[in-house]
Amino acid sequence: MKIGIVCPYSWDVPGGVQFHIRDLAEHLIRLGHQVSVLAPADDETPLPPYVVSAGRAVPVPYNGSVARLNFGFLSAARVRRWLHDGTFDVIHIHEPTSPSLGLLACWAAQGPIVATFHTSNPRSRAMIAAYPILQPALEKISARIAVSEYARRTLVEHLGGDAVVIPNGVDVGFFDRAEPRPEWQGGTIGFIGRIDEPRKGLPVLMRALPAILAARPDTRLLVAGRGDEEEAVASLPAAMRERVEFLGMVSDEDKARLLRSVDVYVAPNTGGESFGIILVEAMSAGAPVLASDLDAFAQVLDQGAAGELFANEDADALAAAAIRLLGDPERRAELRERGTAHVRRFDWSTVGADILAVYETVTDGAASVAADERTGLRARFGLARE
C-alpha cells in the first residue's frame, strides 16, 4: 500500500506527535508498505529517506503559546506537489485542526483520508470562529482516529461525529530488553519530563519528597529532563537536596535503562495530557507506576488496575502512596506483572495492525488520493444550474 503521512509539527523539534509518526512510518515500512511523510523541516536538517520537507515552519503566537506552523501559498503548493507525485492509496493526516500542514493537506486532497486527533484541547475561541471554515475541510476525512477515549470525547463534543480509539504505540520489546543500571537501583523513584514545565508536575513531587524521605531515608529521586536544576530543588531543605539526582537529557537507551532500574516511576502531571505514552513506556520496562488521576492516565492504567493512581496535585496522597509502594515489594511485583500484561495492547504489532485495518477499511472500493482540482468557473455554473 502507498501511504502518505502528514506531520503538522517541525521534524527537528522533538515531540510526542513527531515520535509517533516516526515510529508508525518505520513500522509500516518494515511491513513492506511504501511510506512518505510530509513534515515541516529546516533545509539543513538531515531527514530520514522517507521524509519530505514542506519547508520551514514559522513561529507564530497561537493558542496561548508560540507554535511553529506552516501555512501560506508556498506551503500549499508543496502539499499539492507531494500529493500529486505520491499517488497515495491513502493519506493519514495528524492533527487536522491545527492551522498548519494538516489543514492544508485536508483542503488540497480528495480520496481516502484518515485523520488522527492527538490533543484534547478545551474548545478555544479561535476554533469556534474557524468552525465554518474548518467544517468543509474536515468533512473530507473518511475515518477519524482518537488516541484515547478522552480525546474521542473532546472530538465528539467539539466537532460532532465519531471516531475509533487507537492508542499511541510503543516498542514494548525495546524497553523490555534494556539492561538495568546498578547505580540507579535500590530504593529509587524515577521522574522523566521537563523540569521547568509545571504541568509535568515536578513541583508536586518536590512537595511530597520530604514526607517520603522522612519515612524512608534511603530513597533517591532520579530526574531525567531539561530545565533549571537549582530552581527545582529550591523548595527542599538543604539536607535533602543530595537525595535528588539530575541526569539531564537522556538518550532513548538510557531512558529505557532508567525505567528498568527504578523501584517506582512517578508521573505527577497536573493536566494537558491526552494520552500518557511515558506511562506505557514505564510499564513496558516493568516499572511499577504511580500517576496522578488525570482522565487520560486513568485510562492508560486501566482505571488503576495496571498502576496506582493518586488525587491530582495532592502531594500528601502522592507521598502516602509512594511510601506504601516502596515498602511493599510484593505489591510492586504484582504491579510489574499486571503492567507487563497490560502493555501488550500498546505494542506496535497491535496498534499498527489496527491502523492498517483502518486504512484497508477506507480504501476498500475507493479511488486513490489525488489533488483536489478546483472546479473551473464554467463548470461551477454548469453545476449551479443543474
Binding site: E139, R144, G161, D162, R345, V362, R380, F381, A384
Partner: protein, 184 residues
C-alpha cells in the same frame, strides 16, 4: 452611469456570488454522498466477511453441534436478510458470536485444530472491523445530514434526488475472548 444600471450591476454581482457559493455547497454535498457510498460499501464488505467466516467455522465441524447450528442460522439469516431487516439480523449474529465465543476456552479449542488458528484470527479481524466500518459510515451520514438540514440546501434543492442518508444502527460488540485489545 445612470443609477439604475449601477444597481443592476450590483444585483448581477450578488447573483453571481450567490450562485458560486451554492455551486460550491453542491460540490461539498456531492463529495459527502460519495463518501457515504464508499463507507457503506466498506461496511457491507466487512459484514459479509464476518458472516462468511462464521458460516465457514459453523460448517467445519470444529464446534459442537449446538454451537454450529446457532452460528450457522445466525450467519445465514444475516446474509439473506432484506435491507430493512438487516440491522436486526446482523445484531443477532453479534449476539450469537458472543454466546459461542464468550469464553477463552472455546477460542483456544478452535485454535488447536488444523487451520483453526487462521479461522480464529480471521473471525477476530472481521469482528473488530465491523464496528470500525460502521463508525466511519455513521460519521459520514451525520456530516451529510447536518449539511442537508441547512436552509440553503433545502431551499435550493441542492441535494437533488439523493435519498436522505440513514445511519446503520446495530449491536456490534465483538466477543470478549476474540478481542485481545481494548475495544471502545
Amino acid at each position: 452611469m445612470p443609477p439604475v444600471i449601477e444597481t443592476l450591476i450590483w444585483i448581477a454581482v450578488a447573483v453571481v456570488a450567490i450562485g458560486m457559493y451554492l455551486s460550491w455547497t453542491a460540490g461539498r454535498l456531492d463529495r459527502l454522498h460519495t463518501r457515504i457510498d464508499a463507507a457503506r460499501a466498506a461496511l457491507d464488505a466487512q459484514l459479509l466477511r464476518r458472516a462468511s467466516v462464521t458460516q465457514e467455522l459453523a460448517t467445519s465441524g470444529v464446534l459442537d453441534p449446538a454451537a454450529s447450528i446457532v452460528l450457522y442460522e445466525a450467519a445465514h439469516a444475516a446474509r439473506q436478510a432484506e435491507e430493512e431487516h438487516r440491522e436486526v439480523a446482523e445484531s443477532e449474529l453479534s449476539a450469537a458470536l458472543r454466546a459461542v465465543f464468550g469464553e477463552t476456552a472455546q477460542v483456544e479449542a478452535v485454535k488447536e485444530i488444523p487451520g483453526g488458528e487462521e479461522a480464529a484470527s480471521e473471525l477476530a479481524a472481521a469482528a473488530r472491523r465491523v464496528p470500525m466500518a460502521r463508525r466511519f459510515h455513521n460519521d459520514a451520514v451525520r456530516a451529510a445530514r447536518a449539511l442537508r438540514r441547512h436552509r440553503k440546501v433545502r431551499w435550493f434543492r441542492l441535494a437533488g434526488h439523493a435519498p436522505f442518508p440513514l445511519a446503520f444502527e446495530m449491536d456490534d460488540e465483538p466477543p470478549v475472548a476474540l478481542a485481545d485489545r481494548p475495544v471502545s
